[in-house]
């Protein structure tokens, strides 16, 4: 964790510096009449301060055996695959929703994820995703009157 904390601390410091620069451009004002950049500047300054403390603390800590094993455990390639596909599906949903419409996009999204979890079967993912789409359409669109993009199906 030490290595990551060091990098993290630097990221917060850089973010703080950028925030301070942006705040100065907004106009800081003074204590009598604080301007729109006053609070963002203070937040940025504190981000720099605590980012630096976080980084410095890692130099003071001694690294033990436990730390090393923890570092190794953080990124496991196999586990990455498990979250990559859902993330891909989520991005796809955002890209398609406005153009293709709620019903088809939702069906594709759910079918993709259900199929991923039961790769050998077709009927269960089809029933689950189809059922959820119909039910959610009835609850959210018909009953609760939520407005969803109609897309190519036009309803």
């Amino acid at each position: 964790m030490k290595k990551y904390d060091r990098v993290g601390g630097l990221i917060w410091t850089i973010l703080g510096i950028l925030l301070c620069i942006g705040s100065v451009q907004l106009r800081l004002g003074n204590f009598n009449k604080p301007g729109p950049g006053f609070i963002p500047f203070l937040s940025g300054a504190f981000l720099i301060l605590f980012g630096l403390i976080l980084t410095l603390v890692t130099f003071l800590k001694e690294s033990g055996e436990e730390e090393k094993t923890r570092n190794e455990k953080i990124w496991v390639k196999e586990n990455w695959k498990r979250i990559f596909y859902p993330l891909f599906a989520l991005f796809g949903y955002i890209l398609l929703l406005d153009h293709v419409g709620f019903l088809i996009t939702t069906f594709l999204f759910l079918f993709f994820l259900f199929k991923l979890t039961v790769p050998k079967r077709w009927t269960m993912p089809l029933i689950l995703s189809g059922g959820t789409v119909v039910l959610s359409y009835l609850i959210f669109s018909v009953w609760l009157k939520c407005q969803f993009p109609k897309g190519i199906l036009n309803f």
Partner: protein, 499 residues
């Protein structure tokens, strides 16, 4: 006293209307549901349902959303006891003795005492809340911008102090939250800040996409990466009613847990998690047989379960009396009040007694509903535990998508949610806690206003924060908390370890 009784009966008249009973039931039902399911918590569920409440009146909305919060505490214990996986972070400690009781064939009494303890503590907690909130709000009316500023600083300091793990990281999260809250239009000058020409950012980033991302999407991603499916509970549950011996062993723990939980619940960030751990520690200390703890001692279930329920009532005190949320869920309720055009603060109870008393009365009714949902209908939740996570997670993600989209009917909010989902996932990996960020994000604009107004009043002198007694005391306590975190590092490590 007459005024009190009038308000009390007004509350019940409101809570007993058909619509409010319905919304109360929906709230506690969903609360129990998300409590039972380890993949999603009350913060995620409330942000999911917040857009749904736009069309209903504010009392019903708050009744339903509050129901999710206290209902989740009931549901969380079921998963802890039956499968040794905490449904909620506040029921982690219930696993220790609850699961052991389950292994010994005493899952019934464990679930029973958890439900009865929760009911007693929840009800007593509401009574204390009822008597404390109004007088406190009377005092809070006299607060000016410096007092509010100091109290918010104190709230954030305590929250970062009680955060799991590194306090430096928690402070970074708080400042990040304040920084994010600055995006959008400055209400004093009308100037846009950090929008980078993106029109959707002119009104600022929405609270709901942030919370859904940090708590909903991030939780799913972490679960997907870490674990497979839950272990299915196969044994039949019998004898839900605890016997006389169980009651004698538990009643002291329930009473202690109730009061301890309520007062720890008032503290920012304290809430249900810390109170359940403290209650367990206290019970072990009070017990004549501390060696039995961890091997299936019923008081190890009764105490923490009572504490986490009364803590939820305690958490309503700062929200209703001061308009300052004490945790992420309360921050969402504050957001809900504001969305419905209400101004949370000390005047809320006076100006809108229907909101305060209606919610209080609905909490009594909600606790009765929860007792029924969690005892005779326990079989329903056990069945739910058998649904594999691989089936549940696409549905959770889908509900998050719908929730984020329906706030403004815009895919921009969905994108924001997804980005914060990935950020939240990374935060979990690198041990940054999202709660201080959310609270600071909510408090950010209020903090800025009160600072600006205070400085205008004092003509630029910072002494105003120290020369006014309440503000001064608040800031000194905040400073002491900060200093104590340096000197009592060991104590903090113990809290972190317990959490």
């Amino acid at each position: 006293m007459t005024g009190f009784l009038e308000n009390f009966s007004l509350g019940f008249q409101i809570a007993f209307t058909g619509a409010n009973l319905f919304y109360c039931f929906i709230g506690v039902f969903i609360g129990t549901l998300v409590g039972v399911l380890p993949g999603i918590g009350p913060a995620g569920a409330i942000s999911l349902l917040l857009p749904v409440t736009f069309g209903i009146n504010p009392v019903s909305a708050i009744i339903m959303l509050a129901g999710i919060y206290y209902g989740a505490q009931y549901g969380g214990s079921t998963t802890s006891i039956l499968v040794n996986i905490p449904g909620e972070s506040s029921t982690v400690v219930t696993c220790l003795d609850g699961y052991q009781m389950s292994l010994q064939g005493r899952a019934g009494p464990a679930l029973g005492i958890a439900a009865f303890g929760s009911f007693i503590a929840g009800t007593v907690g509401i009574i204390i809340l009822m008597f404390l909130a109004e007088p406190l709000s009377g005092v809070a009316i006299k607060f000016g911008p410096p007092e509010y500023f100091s109290l918010m600083i104190l709230a954030l300091t305590i929250l970062t102090y009680l955060a799991h793990g590194s306090m430096i990281k928690a402070i970074v999260m708080a400042f990040l939250g304040v920084s994010l809250s600055q995006i959008g239009m400055d209400i004093v000058t009308g100037q846009t800040r950090f929008t980078f020409g993106i029109m959707e950012l002119e009104d600022g980033i929405g609270l709901i996409p942030i919370v859904m991302g940090l708590f909903g999407i991030a939780e799913v991603l972490t679960n997907l990466e870490e674990s497979g499916d839950l272990e299915i509970f196969k044994a039949k549950i019998k004898g839900l009613l605890p016997n006389l011996r169980d009651w004698l062993d538990s009643i002291g723990a329930i009473i202690r847990g109730t009061f301890l939980g309520f007062f720890l619940g008032i503290l920012p960030g304290g809430g249900a998690i810390i109170s359940s751990f403290v209650s367990y520690a206290v019970e072990k200390k009070f017990s004549k047989h501390p060696e039995k703890f961890g091997t299936g001692a019923i008081e190890g279930v009764a105490g923490p379960e009572s504490a986490n329920n009364s803590a939820t009532s305690g958490a309503f005190i700062p929200l209703f009396a001061l308009g300052i949320p004490s945790n992420a869920v309360m921050a969402l309720l504050l957001g809900a009040l504001m969305i419905h055009g209400l101004q949370p603060g000390p005047l809320l109870i006076k100006q809108r007694p229907d909101i305060f008393w209606g919610t209080i009365a609905s909490m009594y009714i909600g606790n009765v509903m929860l007792l029924i949902l969690n005892l005779p209908l326990i079989g329903l939740w056990v069945k739910l535990l058998k649904v594999p996570y691989r089936i549940l997670f696409p549905l959770i993600l889908f509900f998050c998508l719908i929730g984020a989209y329906s706030i403004n009917n815009s895919t921009f909010d969905v994108l924001v949610m997804l980005i914060f989902g990935i950020i939240g996932y990374l935060f979990r990996k690198f041990q940054y806690e999202p709660a201080p960020l959310v609270l600071a994000f909510i408090l950010g604009p209020m903090l800025e206003n009160s600072l600006r107004q205070s400085l205008l009043i004092s003509e630029g002198s910072l002494w105003i924060f120290f020369t006014r007694p309440i503000s001064g005391v608040g800031l000194i306590i905040a400073l002491l908390v900060l200093l104590s975190s340096i000197f009592l590092k060991k104590h903090r490590q113990i809290i972190a370890k317990m959490s």
